[in-house]
């Protein structure tokens, strides 16, 4: 977003909000050690409780939202935040697909709470952990657990320039090819979620000779049926295949469907 666009010749204001999450995606901004001070010069960070005691009220030009919605209070809070942000960007797998905590969505959350807390009556939580986009319109999503620092900086640069961010929606396989990785699934028979997972990590896990576990969520139009068939060829049980889809991006509908299909078969 250029300064002309916001109409007042000032730097765009940025606010960072947190819901159910580990703080890792917002930490990505503080981990941009080489760029942080430059970013802080280009935008006005006006609300970012993890990093500053300054808390300026909205409206904001850009809102970055981390975390999933798991309480009644948070379901209301995201509505207020949406009203305050001209552009709302969800960052990370919790905000974009409910996160690991969405594993409760297949279980009895009351039983979960009783297992963890001595006095479950004190606990208020929703039955489901859901992505922000199930509650309010979202302008852009950054995937990943955590998000990629490069993608975050690309997003900020694109917004400052008033252009669309260049974030690929193809699979991790392309990143493996680009890195000249030998395919772990073909060469070593290691189950890998790479063929159905969106790129962005730089094919990290296959580069460490292990299978991708899908932390960037489903790519655009993933062929999950074909991957399920391949996992069976590798000798994976239905239970193992369900666990593969029902992991870091469990509640993303393509993975949800793939896991449930496998469970029914």
């Amino acid at each position: 977003m250029s300064s002309e666009e916001n109409g007042q010749g000032r730097k765009p204001t940025v606010a960072v909000f947190k819901f159910a999450s580990c703080d890792g995606c917002q930490l990505t901004l503080l981990d941009a050690e080489d760029e942080l001070l430059e970013v802080a010069d280009a935008v006005e960070i006006v609300y970012f409780p993890e990093a500053t005691s300054t808390m300026i009220k909205g409206p904001y030009d850009i809102g970055l939202v981390e975390g999933s919605i798991t309480t009644h209070h948070d379901a209301e809070r995201i509505q207020q935040i949406r009203r305050q942000c001209r552009t709302l960007v969800t960052i990370g797998v919790c905000a974009t697909s409910g996160g690991l905590q969405a594993l409760r969505n297949w279980k009895d959350v009351g039983e979960f709470v009783r297992r963890v807390y001595a006095k479950p009556d004190f606990i208020s939580t929703l039955k489901m952990s859901t992505p922000v986009a199930e509650h309010v319109p979202v302008d852009f999503e950054l995937r990943g657990c955590p998000i990629s620092k490069g993608q975050l900086l690309e997003l900020i640069s694109a917004m400052l320039a008033g252009r669309k961010p260049n974030i690929p929606t193809y699979s991790v396989c392309l990143e493996c090819k680009r890195r000249d990785n030998i395919c772990v699934m073909v060469a070593e028979g290691i189950p890998c979620m790479g063929p159905v997972t969106q790129a962005g990590c730089g094919a990290l896990c296959p580069s460490f000779r292990r299978g991708c576990f899908g932390c960037f969520g489903p790519m655009e139009s993933p062929n999950t049926a074909s991957l399920t068939a391949q996992f069976r060829v590798l000798g994976q049980s239905d239970e193992e295949i369900v666990r593969a889809f029902r992991g870091f991006s469990a509640w993303a509908w393509q993975f949800r469907q793939a896991g449930e299909e496998c469970e029914r078969s």
């Binding site: 990093a51 963890v116 606990i123 208020s124």
Partner: protein
């Protein structure tokens, strides 16, 4: 924050800033007396211990990492220790070395983050490190470069800074060459010097006179400053194997905070983290760190929590120095990891997260699936002690304006570098 007329006043921090996660502090004052202190945590629960059940043990290190974006390695290291005990795996000495090195990276990045970006602003009267950079850019740049050194070490062994993917039950998925590790030596040497400069810088801050009578709890190892293994010891004579944790510590679910606050069965609250490690293991620190402590006028035992920022700087010196020693000793293991067949059992693990002792206990079945999990993070253990600090801190300040008392309370909480996201994988506090 609000101020009521008359002798009764409420100190309220409704959203603690410069901490990891969502929390609040309420202190009720009446006529100079503290009536109540509540460390409130409204971070929503994520219920890790419940959804880990039924997952395979090989998935556990990646999953528990997600409890905390700041200290994922701590979670991975406590988990692999517990799970390897069940499986009867003895890690290769080279793997043990790499784990220690990995952990040094996390300590450097986490402590540098806390010293420069979260805690120093309190002492310098600015809202954040970005404001600080406007007047002291070189200081902030030094902090960022130090933090980056830690992150580079983590990235080399784990692929990325946050939620690294290199660690496995049995070892690592891939181990580095000596040349790869040697590429970090110059930067680690710079960082060790920068950490000494950091200690000297923060030791010059103005510290309130606030000595407390803590029971310090930390790991202790016969030869090493504690990182990834040791017995659990305390300043009042506790000395137990990690597997005895539940015999000596209890977690209580209290209404006002709904945190499962840990306490010693016999004696109540205790303190984990840099102060505890420093006080219980001072003689294991390398000469360069002990000398820096002496130059800062810091002696063990240090009982002033406000000086924990200096202790963190001393620990960064240690971590850089230790990393250099480990890199010099390193020879790659024959295999990156040991693979053992699944077997049923119960295992315990405890390591020193940047914020203190992190205890894990797992039970797995004969197929390798998790039957039960228990995770006790450092911030949950320190929570009661944080409240007790506020009970002691506030009365002498009672005549001050509410804003000043509030600022001092926030600073006192930040002494602990609380990681509420960690504590809250099982913690929930109702908002008023």
């Amino acid at each position: 924050m609000n101020e009521r007329a008359g002798p009764s006043r409420n100190i309220k921090v409704d959203y603690l800033t410069r901490v990891e996660g969502e929390g609040a502090v309420h202190v009720k004052l009446k006529g100079g007396q503290v009536q109540d202190v509540q460390m409130r945590i409204f971070e929503p629960p994520r219920l890790f211990e419940a959804f880990l059940r039924g997952r395979h043990y090989m998935e556990v290190p990646d999953m528990v990492a997600r409890i905390c974006g700041i200290c994922p390695i701590a979670y991975q290291m406590s988990a692999v220790q517990a799970l390897e005990r069940i499986l009867g795996i003895e890690a290769d000495p080279a793997v043990r070395l790499l784990r220690r090195l990995f952990y040094c990276g996390e300590w450097i990045e986490s402590h540098a983050l806390h010293i420069y970006m979260l805690h120093a602003p309190d002492f310098l009267g600015v809202p954040d490190a970005i404001q600080l950079a406007r007047t002291h850019r070189d200081v902030v740049e030094q902090g960022l470069r130090l933090k980056k050194t830690g992150n580079r070490l983590v990235t080399l062994l784990g692929g990325r800074e946050i939620h690294p993917i290199g660690a496995a039950v049995g070892g690592f998925y891939k181990t580095p060459s000596r040349a790869e590790l040697n590429s970090l030596v110059d930067e680690l040497q710079w960082s060790r010097d920068a950490a000494v400069a950091t200690a000297s810088l923060v030791a010059g801050f103005d510290f309130p006179d606030f000595e407390q009578d803590y029971e310090f709890v930390a790991l202790s190892h016969p030869e090493e400053y504690p990182l990834n293994e040791g017995r659990l010891v305390s300043s009042r004579g506790l000395d137990i194997d990690v597997s005895e944790f539940n015999d000596h510590f209890v977690e209580q679910h209290v209404k006002h905070s709904n945190a499962l606050q840990a306490r010693l069965r016999e004696r109540g609250s205790y303190l984990v983290g840099p102060l505890a490690r420093f006080n219980l293991n001072f003689e294991k620190l390398p000469e360069v760190a002990r000398q820096a402590a002496a130059d800062c006028g810091l002696e063990a035992p240090c009982r002033n929590p406000f000086r924990s920022i200096v202790v963190r700087a001393i620990e960064v010196i240690f971590a850089c120095d230790e990393a250099l020693k480990l890199i010099a000793e390193y020879h790659p293991p024959e295999a990156p990891r040991v693979i053992a067949p699944a077997r049923a059992g119960v295992g315990h693990g405890a390591t020193e997260a940047p914020r203190g002792v992190l205890y894990h206990r797992y039970e797995i079945d004969e197929r390798g699936l998790v039957v039960s999990a228990q995770i006790v993070p450092p911030t949950a253990q320190n929570q009661k002690r944080m409240e007790e600090d506020l009970w002691q801190l506030v009365p002498p300040l009672a005549a001050l304006p509410v804003e000043e008392i509030t600022a001092r309370c926030e600073q006192a909480v930040r002494n602990y570098d609380p990681c509420i996201s960690c504590a809250t994988h099982f913690v929930r506090v109702e908002r008023e």
